[in-house]
């Protein structure tokens, strides 16, 4: 089995598996964020649960971090290997004739998303870890909503969010069906998967963008 | 030297079985001590290489292409015959044998053909076991189609790519043995001579086409599966690289060349579009089931069409000449290949050709579209008088039957054959003649074998559709592995054949001096210039209809052209590199010799039989006239120049089949 994950197809499968996990995580994350539009209380409650539940904090969070790190490290590894397999570049290459921009530029959309994750860590995750585990402040179950609102005040951050999520959408537009194809699940169900993939890659980023814009515009 | 066909005694049904029971075998340990060289990796060479390697021999296989999978067997479309009688329509080994001998116009060897029919069923079993995806019906059983005017459905097929699938099957079997180290594969290598030591074939001289290096390879036996020589016509349905060189070098080393004039000209090919043309594309024979062949009745219509002033669809029925229906009311458009080809040539020679080169006739589907359309309208209960509807329904049926062929035609000609008639013209397609072999498939040189299209044995003067694939695989999978074992059983103590002998030195030197001559000639004309000229002579004077006067002219013209070639050919580059022009030059040099022998053979055969039609020997109705005194195989012995070749005759005896006249009126 270890040989399997060293093979080209094994690497594809591991990319797909980590992608599935991340795509599932995106749904959860968006679900929590969306509540901030409707109810401060619900958002605080859910954030408090996520922030303090030991299962989430000490089991799921490390898995998530591993998933993210694995996905981008493996993405880089594959990119480098693929570049090596290529040899001399064509003087003229018309990639647009046979494939989508998204599929050919996963590494770039991925890099933007990675940069966004960096920003996201600086904005939320590092302060959070500092607050809870380093400074050892007592938990305040109502602090989350205000922290969120404050972040979306500066226009540059909202712009960065919107741009990143557009690229996430493009990443997903190819990545969703690609992950299924890598797992060998497409045979005979190509059309349905494609439709679901497009819907997913629009709805998820759009949801995050709406949350950001909503708080930017509704800040008092 | 008297020709001995070595046909075993006994009733025809038992010959092969008895033969196999009595031959010498080589024990498995000893097979490891024996090397076999196989040149060519098409259906015959590929299947032979795989099978001999499975048996335990050390095989060295050679092909000039970059992979064995590219041999031109891959282009065969229609199917492969086998006497399985899965359809229960009365087929049997005897019927397949009978059809093949009759189709060959009684110029093939009975015992060989019977054996071919006998092993045909094993081919299908073997290919299915290898994973060849033959077409199946909804019950999961193998499907069959009918082919080439026979009375039963015995043709197995894989879409329109049967040759490809069978070849990939043989290639996969080869791959298995290459992986095991039992076949050593030499891609991009061309055999340039066979080496004879003490009267036996013991190796070859080959040129590595990438580096230009001349190599020596030795073995206990040499097998040629190098295909036919139809490229002597320059334009043909053969691959660009198909050539006679290996067979011709074998001929020069003592292998007799049999029936060179027996060539198949296929009637339904896409016509030549201009001087730049390099190759002709075949359209499956099956199109004649629904297409009607015609040319305009009046010369003014022909000229108007050529000038683009008139469209064929604008010519009314009464001004069209459906010449096959006119001449052969019983068979109409379904006459055999040779008859259909000659009739097209006759019309075009009379000036009625419909394209700018004057060498094309129409193959029209309008009648079929209307007939099918009406049928469909009736079945579906729709209006039978609605012209547009009828046309649409009819087109759908035609599309289902021939869609891929129509698409291919449109790609090449840029005309839509649903709307305007196709243009077709005959083209050289297969050579029934080849190296003479006995019942063991051994040539007149001991230890030198010829299989598949390269030999002459099974198709007589004309080959039936879907029989070429059958013969190639029969020879390679099921015949040669037995017969060669009998011969090799005497070589178990010989040990490896050294390549440092005088015979190898001589052969290599000859090859090298030949190449040097070509590369240093510094003439003024390219190889293609001569090849095209040869093709014109062959096509005009040794083509679909021949006569003594023109054949004599052809003989002297080819001899002159050959002399001019050696004086004036220009080959760029150097010998020690990838140099396609040099490879081509060597091949054309051999075609220039074969061409002359071809004409000589056609001249001596004063009869018409199958693909060989002599103007002087036809019935009052213009049909082929076979003559009893020519019921023999003409096998030519090399004596220097082609004109000095000596004729040997192998009499053909028919004990199991009655020799009859063919009539299609």
């Amino acid at each position: 089995m270890s040989g399997f994950f060293k093979s080209s197809i094994g690497r594809k499968v591991s990319m797909a598996l980590s992608a599935f996990f991340l795509m599932f995580f995106l749904i959860i994350h968006l679900a929590v964020n969306i509540t901030s539009i409707f109810s401060e209380a619900v958002f605080n409650e859910m954030s408090h649960f996520m922030g303090t539940n030991p299962l989430v904090q000490f089991a799921l969070q490390p898995v998530l971090i591993f998933g993210v790190v694995f996905h981008f490290v493996m993405g880089f590894v594959l990119e480098i290997r693929n570049k090596k397999a290529q040899g001399i570049a064509y003087a003229k290459n018309n990639g647009a004739a046979n494939s989508t921009w998204m599929s050919r530029n996963m590494i770039y959309s991925g890099l933007v998303i990675l940069a966004f994750i960096g920003l996201h860590f600086i904005d939320f995750w590092f302060p959070e870890i500092n607050y809870k585990y380093i400074a050892g402040n007592p938990e305040e179950p109502t602090r989350y909503f205000h922290e969120l609102q404050e972040k979306f005040v500066p226009i540059w951050r909202v712009a960065a969010y919107v741009l990143s999520f557009i690229l996430l959408g493009l990443h997903l537009a190819h990545g969703f069906t690609s992950a299924f194809q890598s797992m060998g699940i497409t045979a005979g169900r190509k059309k349905t998967l494609k439709t679901i993939g497009i819907a997913y890659s629009i709805i998820i980023p759009l949801g995050f963008i709406i949350v950001a814009l909503f708080h930017h515009l509704n800040h008092h | 030297m008297a020709l001995d066909s070595k046909v075993p005694e006994g009733p025809i049904k038992d010959k092969w079985t008895n033969y196999k029971d009595k031959i010498n075998l080589v024990n498995p340990a000893n097979k490891r001590l024996i090397d076999v060289i196989i040149v060519g990796t098409g259906l015959a060479g590929g299947s032979a290489a795989a099978t001999l390697a499975e048996l335990g021999y050390n095989v060295k296989a050679f092909c000039f292409q970059d992979s064995p999978r590219r041999a031109h067997s891959i282009a065969a479309q229609g199917g492969i015959n086998a006497a399985k009688n899965y359809q229960g329509d009365g087929d049997s080994t005897y019927r397949l044998f009978y059809d093949t001998v009759k189709g060959g116009d009684y110029r093939s060897r009975e015992a060989n053909v019977y054996r071919l029919a006998e092993v045909s069923t094993s081919i299908i079993d073997q290919c299915v076991a290898q994973g060849v995806p033959f077409a199946r019906d909804y019950g999961g059983l193998l499907d069959n189609r009918s082919f080439g005017g026979v009375l039963v459905s015995r043709t197995f097929y894989a879409k329109g790519q049967t040759g490809q699938q069978l070849l990939l099957g043989a290639y996969s079997a080869m791959n298995r043995q290459i992986g095991r180290g039992k076949i050593k594969m030499y891609n991009r290598h061309e055999m340039l001579d066979v080496v004879i030591v003490d009267g036996k074939a013991r190796g070859i001289i080959a040129r590595n086409l990438v580096t230009g290096e001349i190599e020596r390879h030795s073995a206990h036996a040499v097998v040629l599966g190098t295909g036919g020589y139809g490229n002597a016509f320059y334009l043909s349905t053969y691959a660009m690289g198909s050539n006679v060189t290996a067979a011709w070098k074998a001929h020069k080393r003592g292998a007799f060349f049999a029936n060179p004039c027996f060539t198949q000209i296929h009637p339904t090919c896409i016509p030549v579009s201009g001087d730049h043309q390099s190759k002709l594309t075949l359209m499956s024979e099956s199109l004649r089931n629904d297409g009607r062949i015609w040319v305009p009745k009046h010369m003014e219509d022909v000229l108007a069409i050529r000038e683009g002033k008139l469209k064929p669809t604008e010519i009314p029925e009464e001004n069209r000449d459906y010449y096959l229906e006119r001449r052969y009311p019983a068979f109409g458009n379904l006459v055999p290949r040779d008859v259909a080809s000659r009739a097209a040539k006759e019309r075009c020679d009379a000036g009625y050709g419909v394209n700018k080169t004057g060498e094309a006739v129409y193959l029209d589907f309008a009648t079929a579209i209307e007939r099918y359309g009406k049928e469909q309208a009736y079945v579906k209960g729709l209006d039978e008088n609605d012209k547009a509807l009828i046309k649409k329904l009819g087109k759908d049926i035609i599309k289902a039957k021939y869609g891929n062929l129509f698409q291919m035609y449109e790609k090449i000609v840029d005309q839509n054959p649903y709307e305007t008639p196709m243009m077709i013209y005959p083209a050289a397609h297969y050579t029934m003649g080849g190296i003479w072999v006995d019942y063991n498939l051994m040539t007149t040189v001991p230890g030198l074998y010829a299989i598949g299209e390269a030999n002459f044995s099974d198709h007589g003067a004309n080959r039936l559709g879907a029989s070429a694939l059958m013969q190639g695989l029969a020879d390679g999978y099921f015949v040669l592995p037995y017969t060669i074992g009998d011969y090799l059983s005497h070589d178990i103590r010989t040990g490896p054949i050294p390549t440092n002998s005088k015979e190898f030195d001589d052969a290599e030197n000859q090859v090298k001096s030949n190449l040097d001559k070509l590369i240093n000639n510094n003439g003024t004309h390219s190889v293609d210039y001569f090849h095209k000229k040869l093709g014109k002579i062959m096509w005009n004077k040794c083509g679909m209809a021949r006569n003594a006067k023109e054949l004599k002219e052809a003989i002297s013209e080819i001899a002159e052209l050959r002399a001019e070639f050696w004086k004036d050919v220009k080959v760029p580059g150097i010998a020690n590199e990838y140099n396609e022009e040099l490879a081509k030059a060597g091949r054309v040099a051999d075609f220039l010799e074969l061409g002359e022998l071809f004409a000589k053979d056609a001249l001596q055969r004063e009869e018409s039989a199958g693909g060989h039609f002599r103007d002087e020997y036809q019935t009052p109705e213009g049909e082929a006239m076979r003559r009893k005194e020519f019921q023999y195989v003409s096998a030519w012995e090399y004596k220097g120049e082609p004109k000095d070749a000596v004729l040997h005759k192998e009499a053909l005896v028919y004990e199991n089949i009655e020799v009859k006249e063919r009539s299609y009126k």
Binding site: S7, K12, V13, A85 | S67, R136, A158, S273, K279, I412
Partner: protein, 247 residues
């Protein structure tokens, strides 16, 4: 028509190579692309220059020998055809046409437009077969029923001509469409299922060893494949390999 050609010239495997400009006049729209190159080559021979080396053989779209990257696309601008089936009517008077060899580490250039595709052969040798000897007494061809669906789907996969356009067009130089097609053909047939696990493991291992890249599912190969081999064959191969490693 008159055309400007930018053709990759490279003397040998070790030479660096570069694009060279050629002008061709009197190109007829009825010519095939290769016949247009024939005309150019005759011209070069007449001028005592070296003709352009390119692979070609059957010139009817089935042998898989011809292999050129024309104006940024494998086998040129038209779909579902090989270079030999491409006709000059697909171009306009005055066009500039780039002609390059297949590019991939695993397909080194031999000369000019000719590349070495023997990596494909070695992948097939690793497992692209069913282990059955020729005996003459194999079971009857109709003894095992095969559904029409399985036979037709296997046939669709088996139509691969091994030209390498999939690798050439892939931004990752991946050979998975080629390997997937062969794996699929056998996996779909009962005769091939017996050694399916070993076959897919061996063929994928050899594919990786040859230095082909990883598939990222761009789908370019499927679009450029002259025989329209489906991406589903890659999915099937992925499944087959997972299955082979789970069992």
């Amino acid at each position: 028509m008159k055309l400007t050609l930018k053709i990759w010239r490279q003397k040998s495997a070790n030479d660096k190579g570069n694009l060279v400009d050629y002008k061709v006049n009197d190109v007829s729209p009825d010519m095939s692309f290769l016949e247009m190159l024939d005309v150019l080559n005759q011209d070069l021979i007449d001028k005592n220059e070296e003709p352009i080396a390119f692979d070609h053989d059957c010139r009817e779209g089935i042998c898989g020998m011809c292999s050129m990257y024309i104006n940024g696309r494998a086998h040129g601008p038209d779909r579902s055809i090989t270079v030999c089936q491409l006709h000059m009517r697909s171009f306009k008077d005055g066009d500039t046409i780039y002609i390059e060899p297949w590019r991939a580490k695993a397909f080194p250039v031999i000369k000019d437009l000719i590349v070495d595709r023997s990596a494909f052969d070695r992948i097939q040798q690793a497992g692209g077969f069913i282990s059955v000897n020729t005996s003459g007494n194999t079971q009857d061809a109709n003894a095992t029923l095969i559904s029409k669906y399985a036979a037709d789907t296997a046939m669709d996969a088996a139509t691969c001509i091994g030209c390498g356009a999939c690798v050439a067009t892939c931004k990752n130089s991946s050979a998975m469409l080629f390997v997937g097609a062969k794996v699929s053909q056998y996996a779909l047939l009962p005769q091939g299922q017996i050694e399916a696990a070993e076959r897919v493991r061996n063929m994928v291992a050899q594919m990786d060893l040859e230095g082909f890249g990883n598939c990222t599912n761009t789908g370019a190969c499927e679009v450029e494949c002259p025989k329209g081999i489906s991406l589903e064959n890659i999915a099937r191969m992925n499944r087959e390999l997972m299955k082979a490693n789970i069992n």
